[in-house]
Amino acid sequence: MMQSRYLPLIATALIFVIAYALCYLQYPNILSTRVVGNLFTDNAFLGIAAVGMTFVIISGGIDLSIGSVIAFTGVFIAAMLANTSLHPLLVFGLALTISASFGAMMGGIIHYLQMPPFVVTLAGMFLARGMALVISTESIPVKHEFYTFIQESFYRLPGGGRITTIGALMLIVFIVGILLAHRTKFGANVFALGGGIQTSKLMGVPLASTTIGIYAISGFLAGLAGITFSLYTSAGYSLAAVGVELDAIAAVVIGGALLTGGSGFIAGTLIGVLIMGLIQTYIIFDGTLSSWWTKIVIGILLFVFIIMQKGFLLAASAPKK
């Protein structure tokens, strides 16, 4: 029997396939491995951050700080590499530790002080952006042979396309995310939290460690997205990645998650990210459309998905027994 809870995921996949087919009819090039490879590379940082956001949203929370954390990580890495002789991998480790602790701290405040995630991560957003600004208000370029090495290592696809390191990293993050969400106790606890905090507590779900874990993961992945962004742009800029949290939320919702929590798919988020990337690619192919159409189309897509979920929910709440 087809389980109705997978309907949103199937719908997302279907829309992606149809949209891609329509784009293909107009611009056959869009299916070339080159374009597909770029789709992964260009959206790697968004995809990685969106995995963290998926966990947060499934748990019924929200994390507004990820754009700022990406910017902070980028600036931090650039500044460290410019002013010290530490190896980038060591700096990456430091950056991830900071971003994960930052997320854990927000989770702790949310849990122990019972404050709405919306407000706590909002303060986190200001804080992380502020820290980035304090390190540097200017964009800091990164020049390091390790960066060049990473940027030049890729897997060549037939047809000239490339799976870059960061593109591959995103795919790995998604696979790990899927396993973590659907095949571990932690993942089950995340879904439980989204279903109801009081009930979860009565059922013995460890609220504190789960809540802190969720935001730590989101912070960690935002940090990893910051590293990816840094590799992608070879620079750190404190005003970068403004509004990425919105794109991530949109990708998660388009991916079939309920913003109310309790239901969602990591794999759906990947499709959500790809749909958003596809829109941008189409606009570039077209050449005459302005970039602001991206926002409008994403808004329309959000609307369509939200209405569709409403329909699924109505269908699901039909008399049962």
């Binding site: 389980q3 571990t184 106790k185 089950a188 439980a192 059922m203 013995g204 239901s263 049962k320």
Partner: protein, 509 residues
């Protein structure tokens, strides 16, 4: 002698600031026993339960489980010790699969990951012991409340295994589900579990329990074997005084004049099949039926909560619109819903604001009721309905269930309705307030108001109804009038098994 005692609580004290909630209460549960815990609201039964399960810290006394002193620090701790609790509202998660609900926190692992197949198999096997053959990989929310209740019990027994505490488990079940539940309880009892059973339904208590313990005002009144006591004695113990008139049946001989309201082929698909109903001025029409039979659906369709999709409603021969609650209220309807907390009260608003709410909504936002008039109204109803506490500025959520019910009644009385629908007006409220509400129903109808009252307490229906409509499987199946009204007749009509509806309209229409 104490050897067979599973759980012994002695001299339990629990104080809340200013209140002695439990005073020197003793409670003994044997293995293989179903022990009913009874008492009015505020008698201390939930406090006692909470002390046993660690939700509260007791202030004095000892709890012995199998002869060993225990001090559970929270419900999880109690569960580990062997005491499991299942609440009236199923405390499981609808967005997880049945298997995940049963196994959360102890999922079988393989290679560091959850073995979903094994988890589904184990939970399915476990549930089949309870006579449930269901697909445990589906979401819990895809099953009915009754099935969810059984899943919750299976989970609690699997986790704790010695003592099972059931807090009003039957409140949202229909009779078939209750029967199934009781079958399971008897099996668990045979397995040697001790079961504590809390219920408002005395007949269920007599049906299932071996021992009854009655609390009143935080004190132990008595603990007796079920077969050594009858219901009159039990009620006497619970109340501390004899039930008066309310237990007797009064047969009205209401002369049905011109109908005030007439509904023809009135219905809503999937909720309630089209029915015909006439209600005269000053008449009380009772609705009897099991949960889910379509009785609440009848009320909600009449009041426009779910708009009807067939038939017409006429008020003194004039067709009226009943598509929304607002439209119904415009025709001077009122509706006290069954689910008081979610559909009735506005918790954070004061008693005063709750009373004037419907009247104000009727007047529209632009024409506020002057404060002096609001106060006068509140004073009147607080006195007339004996609402306590009497402070109208207190948030309504702080009131007891019975007093909340009275405030909602006052809300409607303030709009001066000609037709009032009461859905389970006495559910979940203490016996004292219970009797007052029944008296109120009678006095309203004496004053010429027409009422439609839904109740699962048949005695009550018999006491005040001029006519009883029996609902079964979304269909009005029988109508019992005047002198024919008796619990026996109602039960027969509910239980009748005819495939074809025997829709007999007796009497004048």
């Amino acid at each position: 002698m104490l050897n067979s005692s599973l759980l012994v609580a002695t001299n339990i004290d629990k104080n809340f600031p200013g209140v002695k909630a439990l005073s020197q209460v003793n409670f003994t549960l044997q293995a293989g026993q179903i022990h009913a815990l009874l008492g009015e609201n505020g008698a201390g039964k939930s406090t006692l339960i909470k002390c046993l399960t660690g939700a509260y810290r007791r202030d004095g006394g000892d709890i012995l489980l199998l002869g060993k002193n225990i001090n559970p620090k929270d419900t999880l701790d109690a569960q580990k010790l062997g005491i499991g609790t299942v609440y009236q509202e199923v405390n499981l998660l609808g967005n997880l699969s049945v298997a995940e609900n049963m196994m959360i926190g102890r999922q079988p692992m393989r290679w560091g990951m959850i073995n979903v197949k094994e988890m589904n198999r184990y939970s399915k096997a476990l549930l089949s012991q309870y006579g449930l053959e269901i697909d445990t990989s589906l979401l819990l929310s895809s099953y009915s409340i009754g099935v969810q209740q059984i899943i919750a019990i299976a989970r609690a027994v699997d986790l704790s295994g010695k003592v099972l505490i059931l807090d009003e488990p039957t409140a949202s079940l229909d009779s078939a589900e209750v029967k199934m539940l009781f079958g399971i309880l008897r099996k668990l009892k045979d397995r040697g579990l001790g079961i504590v059973f809390i219920s408002h339904f005395l007949d269920q208590v007599f049906d299932i329990s071996d021992q009854i313990t009655v609390l009143r005002n935080g004190q132990l009144i008595e603990s007796v074997a079920t077969d050594e006591i009858d219901s009159i004695d039990l009620v006497t113990m619970m109340l501390g005084y004899e039930l008066g008139e309310e237990n007797k049946t009064k047969h009205y001989n209401h002369s049905q004049g011109e109908p005030l309201l007439s509904f023809t082929d009135f219905g809503k698909r999937q909720k309630i099949n089209p029915f015909n109903l006439n209600i005269a001025k000053g008449e009380v029409v009772g609705i009897a039926g099991l949960l889910g039979s379509g009785r609440t659906e009848t009320a909600e369709t009449l009041f426009g909560v779910t708009a009807h999709d067939s038939g017409v409603a006429k008020l003194q021969d004039k067709v009226i619109d009943l598509s929304t609650p607002r439209a119904a209220i415009a025709n001077r309807f009122g509706f006290c819903p069954e689910d008081r907390k979610n559909d009735g009260i506005i918790g954070d608003l004061s008693v005063r604001e709750n009373i004037i709410l419907a009247l104000q909504a009727q007047r529209g936002w632009a024409k506020p009721l002057p404060l002096s008039e609001q106060k006068k109204l509140c004073e009147h109803y607080i006195k007339a309905l004996d609402i306590r506490p009497t402070d109208p500025e207190k948030p309504i959520r702080l009131l007891s269930g019975g007093n909340q019910q009275k405030v909602i009644l006052a809300r409607w009385l303030a709009t001066n309705p000609q037709f009032l629908i009461l859905d389970e007006p006495t559910r979940g409220i203490d016996v004292g307030a219970h009797a007052e509400i029944i008296r109120l129903i009678e006095s309203l109808c004496d004053k010429g108001m027409s009422l439609l009252v839904i109740s699962s307490e048949l005695d009550e229906l018999v006491a005040y109804s001029h006519r009883v409509i029996v609902v079964r499987e979304h269909q009005h199946v029988a109508e019992i009038i005047g002198a024919d009204i008796s619990t026996d007749n109602i039960i027969n009509a509910i239980a009748a098994n005819s495939v074809e509806p025997e829709y007999v309209l007796k009497g004048a229409i």
